[in-house]
C-alpha cells in the first residue's frame, strides 16, 4: 500500500492520556490487599504458621469447606427448582411469587440469623412451647443451622439467573422437545435443564463467593470460618500478622472461586431463541404443592423473619434512643461518602475506557473492579497491615502530626476497593448508552467542553450515577466486616450494633437495628423489581 495514516494527521482520541493515568492510579489501592496477602503467603513467619496449622487452619478450612458445599448444594437445588416452577409451569399465585421470591435479597445473612436464632433458640418461646408439646427442635446453632440460614439468604442469586435462562431459551427448548414427542419431565431434563446449566453454575459460584466472604452470619452462629478467624486473630489475640497469615491462606480459595467464576461467565452465551413462551405447563393436582413449596420458601426466607423482627422490635422500642440515631447517622455519613467516592472512581475508570481505549485503560478497569471479589475481612486486614506500617514509618521519619483521622481515610479506602465494582456496572452502562454519533453530532455543531458535559453527558449519565450511588449506599449500610474491623473509635453503625448485640447474645435487642437494615436493603430490591417489570 502506498499511503499510510502516519503521513497524515493522527486520529484524535486513542492512546494514553491523563484520564488513563488517573484511572491506573485509582487501581493501586486494590492491589495492596492482594500484594500484602500474597507476600504473607510466600514469606510466612514460621512460628505463627506452625501454630496456625496446629490449632486454627484445619478446623477453619474444614468448616469453610462444609459450609461452601452445603450452601452451594442447597442454593443450587432451591434456586433451580423455584425458577423452573415459576418460569415453566402454571400454579396459583405464580405471578406474585415470581417477583416476591427475590425479596430475600434485602436480608443480609446476619439479619436472618438474628431472627432465626431468636426464634429457634433452645430458650426461645417457640422452642419452649414445642418442648411442652413433647417436640424437640434440632439445634439451630449448628453447621446445619448456618447452612440453612445462608442458603435462604443467598438462593435468589441462583433463582434470578435460572429464571432468566428458563424464561428465555429454556422455555423454547422445552416446546421444541415436546413437539418431538417427549414427555414434559423428560423434555425438562433433556432440553431446558442442560441449557440453563451454565447459568445456574454461574449463580452458584456467586453464592459460594458470598458464602466465603460472609462474616456476620458465621459470627452470629459462632461457626468459625476464615473470616471470623481473621477477626478473632486480630481483635481477640491482637495479632494482625496472624490475621494476615490466615487471609493469605484464604486468598487461595478466593482465587480459585474467582477463576472459576470468570471461566463460567465465558461459557454463558445468550442465544435468545425467540420470544418467551406464553403457554406454561399446567400442573394438575400438583399445582397446590407448587404453591406451597414456593410460598414456604418465601415464608421462611422473608415473611417469617421479618414478622419475627417486627414483633420483637416493637416490644423493644426503648432501643430507639439517641445512640440509635447516632448509629443511623454514622451509617448515612459513611455510606454517602463511600457512594460519592466509588461513583467518582467508577466514572473515571469507565470514561478512560471509553475515551482512551487501549490496553492500559482496559487493565485499569479490570484492576479497579477486582476488589468486589475480595471478602471484606481479607480486604480489611490486607489494607490495614501495610498501610498502618507505612504511616507509622512516615510518622517516625517526618515527625509530623498526621491528623490522619487515619482510621476514617483507611475505612473509606477499603470501601472504595470493595464497592467500586458495584458503582462501575451502572455507570459504565449509562456511558455506553451515549452513542458515538451523538458525540460526533455535538462536535460538528461545535458543542464542546463544559457545555457538552452539561448538555449531553450529564443528562444522559445522571440516571446511571444515581443508581450507582444508591447501590453503594445500601451496600455500605449493610456492610459488616470492613466497618467492624476498620472503623475509627465512635463510628458505630447499625451493622456493627447488630454484631455487638448478637455477640452478647442479645437477640431481641438486635431486632430493631436488623429491621432497619432490612428497610434500607429493600430499596434496591424494589428498584430491581420495577426495572424488571418495565423491561417485560
Amino acid at each position: 500500500m502506498s499511503a499510510t495514516a502516519e503521513t497524515f494527521a493522527a486520529p484524535g482520541r486513542r492512546g494514553v492520556g491523563g484520564l488513563t493515568l488517573l484511572a491506573l492510579a485509582l487501581c493501586l489501592p486494590s492491589l495492596i490487599p492482594l500484594l500484602s496477602a500474597t507476600v504473607a503467603l510466600f514469606n510466612p513467619d514460621p512460628a505463627t504458621l506452625s501454630h496456625l496449622w496446629q490449632f486454627t487452619l484445619p478446623r477453619v478450612a474444614g468448616n469453610t469447606f462444609w459450609l461452601l458445599l452445603g450452601v452451594g448444594f442447597c442454593t443450587a437445588v432451591l434456586g433451580t427448582a423455584l425458577a423452573a416452577l415459576v418460569a415453566l409451569t402454571e400454579f396459583p399465585g405464580r405471578a406474585l411469587l415470581r417477583w416476591a421470591l427475590v425479596l430475600p435479597l434485602a436480608l443480609p445473612g446476619y439479619v436472618l440469623a438474628v431472627a432465626f436464632i431468636g426464634l429457634f433458640d433452645y430458650s426461645g418461646s417457640f422452642a419452649t412451647g414445642l418442648r411442652e408439646l413433647g417436640l424437640a427442635l434440632p439445634e439451630i446453632r449448628s453447621r446445619g443451622g448456618v447452612i440453612a440460614v445462608l442458603s435462604l439468604a443467598l438462593y435468589p442469586y441462583v433463582y434470578l439467573v435460572a429464571l432468566d435462562a428458563f424464561g428465555s431459551q429454556g422455555a423454547r427448548a422445552l416446546e421444541a422437545a415436546r413437539a418431538l414427542g417427549m414427555s414434559p419431565r423428560r423434555a425438562f431434563l433433556r432440553a431446558s435443564l442442560p441449557l440453563a446449566r451454565p447459568f445456574i453454575a454461574g449463580g452458584v459460584l456467586l453464592v459460594l463467593m458470598e458464602t466465603l466472604a460472609d462474616f456476620g452470619t458465621v459470627a452470629a452462629f459462632n461457626y468459625d470460618t476464615f473470616t471470623s478467624a481473621i477477626y478473632s486473630a486480630w481483635f481477640a489475640m491482637f495479632s494482625p500478622d496472624t490475621a494476615l497469615q490466615i487471609a493469605a491462606v484464604m486468598l487461595l480459595a478466593v482465587a480459585l472461586l474467582v477463576g472459576l467464576e470468570a471461566r463460567s461467565r465465558r461459557r454463558q452465551s445468550f442465544a435468545r431463541l425467540g420470544a418467551p413462551v406464553q403457554q406454561r405447563l399446567p400442573l394438575g393436582r400438583g399445582r397446590w404443592l407448587a404453591t406451597a413449596f414456593c410460598g414456604g420458601v418465601l415464608g421462611l426466607a422473608f415473611l417469617l423473619p421479618v414478622a419475627r423482627l417486627l414483633y420483637v422490635a416493637s416490644s423493644h422500642l426503648d432501643e430507639l434512643d439517641a445512640r440509635y440515631f447516632e448509629f443511623i447517622g454514622n451509617g448515612f455519613a459513611l455510606s454517602a461518602m463511600a457512594a460519592a467516592l466509588t461513583v467518582a472512581a467508577a466514572l473515571v475508570l469507565a470514561l478512560a475506557a471509553r475515551e482512551q481505549p487501549g490496553f492500559l485503560s482496559r487493565l485499569a478497569q479490570r484492576l479497579g473492579t477486582l476488589g468486589y471479589g475480595l471478602p471484606g475481612a481479607l480486604l480489611a486486614i490486607g489494607l490495614y497491615v501495610p498501610l498502618t506500617r507505612a504511616t507509622g514509618w512516615l510518622l517516625d521519619r517526618l515527625q509530623i502530626e498526621m491528623a490522619l483521622s487515619g482510621g476514617l481515610a483507611l475505612l473509606l479506602l477499603a470501601y472504595g476497593v470493595r464497592f467500586t465494582a458495584v458503582a462501575h456496572a451502572p455507570v459504565a452502562g449509562a456511558l455506553m448508552r451515549i452513542r458515538e454519533s451523538q458525540l460526533e453530532a455535538a462536535a460538528l455543531l461545535g458543542v464542546r467542553g463544559l457545555r457538552r458535559l452539561q448538555q449531553l453527558h450529564w443528562p444522559l449519565l445522571r440516571g446511571g450515577l444515581a443508581t450507582a450511588a444508591l447501590l453503594v449506599f445500601v451496600d455500605v449500610m449493610k456492610e459488616m466486616p470492613i466497618t467492624l474491623m476498620m472503623r475509627p473509635f465512635g463510628w458505630n453503625t447499625l451493622a456493627t450494633r447488630v454484631f455487638e448485640l448478637t455477640n452478647e447474645g442479645e437477640w431481641r435487642r438486635a431486632a430493631l437495628p436488623a429491621l432497619s437494615i432490612v428497610a434500607v436493603g429493600l430499596i434496591p430490591v424494589l428498584l430491581l423489581l420495577r426495572r424488571g417489570r418495565d423491561a417485560t
Binding site: 500500500m1 499510510t4 494527521a9 454519533s437 455543531l445
Partner: protein, 374 residues
C-alpha cells in the same frame, strides 16, 4: 460552497479501502455516493466531516474566492470549523431533549429568542412545526430523521452530509421521504452529499450520483448517464438490469448483433472488431410481427410490465420489458426487435456476457419479504 475531493484515500486500521477518489460538488448541488456495504462509504463521509484523517489526497471547500483545505497533508480542520452538517444513520438525537431543543442544540451562539425562532423555522421546513414539543421516543423513525436534518441545517452549514439516511425506515416510506428531504435542502439552498446502497434513494434525491465499487469511484455523473452511458462494465452491472451480447462491427458506423444490425456512431471503429454490447430491457422491444424470435426462459411479473428473460438462437440471453397484457408462457417463442438509442460497447469477453439484474434487486426482494411479513 463548492466541495472538492482530490485523489482521496480512506480506510481503517492502516488499510485503504477507497483510493484515488476525486469529485466536485457544486454549491447547492445534491450528490449521492452509491455502493455496497463495506465499500468505505461511511469512512469517506467521516473523513469529510473531520472525524477521521485521510490516508492521502485532500478535501477542499471553495466559497466564492476563498478556498480552504479541510483535510490534507498535515491539515486536519476540526469538525466544527468546516461549515459542514451531518445527519447520522441512527439520527443521533438526544433523548432528553424535545424536537425543538434538539434542533436548538447547535444554536448556542445565537441569543435565546433568535435560536428558538431559527429552530422553529427549521422544524417547519421539514414539516414538523407541530411536533416541536415531542420527545424523540414519541416520534416515528421518519420524523426523527427529519428532526436530525433540521438540527443539521439549523446553524446554516454550507453542506450537509447524510449517512444512509433512510436505511432505518420502512421501505414504503423511503422514496417519499427522500423527495421531502430533497425539497427541504433545495429550499435552504444547501448542498448535500448522501451515501446509500439503494439506487432508488440515490436517483430520487441526487443531482449527481457516484458509483463506488472495487475500492474506487467508478463514475460521477447524472442518474441518466449512469444508466445509459456507463463508463465501464462495473457501473453497467451495478446500475439497473440488462444483458451483454456479442456485437461485431461491420464498418465504421454499423454493428451486427444477434438481434439484427444497428447504426453506431463511434469514431475509430474498424470492421471486424468484436465487443460486448449493453442491452437494457427497454432496448429490446416485443413485436409480434418481427421475424426475429426468441424463447421465453424466465419471466417476472411487475404489474404494468413483464420482465422476460429471452434465449436467442445464438444461445445468448437478453432481458425485455414488455407491457403486461402480452402474457407469454415459459418455452413460448416470441418476436422481438432492437431499438437501440444508446450504444454502449465494452471490450469483448465472452465469459463476462449474460443477463444481470442490478445491485438493487436483492434489496428490493428483501423489501418485499419484509412488507409481506408485516
Amino acid at each position: 460552497m463548492r466541495l472538492e475531493l482530490i485523489d482521496c484515500a480512506v480506510g481503517f486500521d492502516g488499510r485503504a479501502v477507497l483510493q484515488g477518489l476525486s469529485l466536485a460538488l457544486q454549491s447547492g448541488e445534491i450528490g449521492a455516493l452509491l455502493g455496497p456495504s463495506g465499500a468505505g462509504k461511511t469512512t469517506l463521509l467521516r473523513a469529510i466531516a473531520g472525524f477521521v484523517p485521510l490516508y492521502r489526497g485532500s478535501i477542499r471547500s471553495a466559497d466564492g474566492e476563498v478556498e480552504r483545505v479541510l483535510s490534507g497533508a498535515g491539515v486536519m480542520l476540526p469538525p466544527e470549523a468546516r461549515g459542514i452538517g451531518m445527519v447520522f444513520q441512527d439520527h443521533a438525537l438526544l433523548p432528553h431533549l424535545n424536537a425543538l431543543d434538539n434542533v436548538r442544540f447547535g444554536l448556542f451562539r445565537l441569543p435565546r429568542a433568535g435560536a428558538i425562532r431559527r429552530a422553529r423555522d427549521c422544524l417547519a421546513l421539514v414539516g414538523l412545526a407541530d411536533f416541536a414539543s415531542r420527545y424523540p421516543h414519541e416520534l416515528s423513525g421518519g420524523q426523527q430523521q427529519r428532526v436530525a436534518l433540521a438540527r443539521a441545517l439549523a446553524p446554516k452549514p454550507q453542506c450537509v452530509l447524510l449517512d444512509e439516511p433512510f436505511s432505518s425506515l420502512d421501505p414504503d416510506l423511503r422514496e417519499r421521504l427522500a423527495l421531502e428531504v430533497r425539497a427541504a435542502l433545495k429550499a435552504e439552498g444547501v448542498g448535500a452529499l448522501l451515501i446509500t446502497h439503494s439506487q432508488t434513494e440515490a436517483f430520487a434525491m441526487a443531482d449527481r450520483v457516484g458509483v463506488l465499487a472495487e475500492g474506487a469511484l467508478q463514475q460521477w455523473d447524472s442518474a441518466y448517464a449512469l444508466y445509459h452511458r456507463p463508463v465501464n462494465e462495473v457501473v453497467a452491472r451495478f446500475i439497473g438490469e440488462g444483458a451483454f451480447i456479442t456485437a461485431e462491427t461491420l464498418g465504421e458506423h454499423r454493428l451486427r448483433t444477434p438481434l439484427g444490425d444497428a447504426p453506431c456512431a463511434r469514431p475509430g471503429l474498424r470492421a471486424g472488431q468484436r465487443f460486448n454490447l449493453l442491452l437494457r430491457p427497454d432496448d429490446v422491444i416485443h413485436d409480434d410481427d418481427s421475424r426475429l424470435q426468441a424463447e421465453v426462459v424466465a419471466r417476472a411479473f411487475r404489474g404494468a410490465d413483464f420482465l422476460y428473460t429471452l434465449k436467442l438462437d445464438s444461445g445468448e440471453r437478453v432481458l425485455s420489458l414488455v407491457p403486461s397484457h402480452h402474457d407469454h408462457a415459459i418455452g413460448q417463442r416470441i418476436g422481438l426487435r432492437l431499438d437501440l438509442e444508446h450504444v454502449v460497447l465494452f471490450e469483448h469477453a465472452p465469459a463476462a456476457g449474460g443477463v444481470f439484474q442490478g445491485a438493487d434487486t436483492a434489496a428490493a426482494a428483501d423489501a418485499t419479504m419484509v412488507s409481506a411479513a408485516r
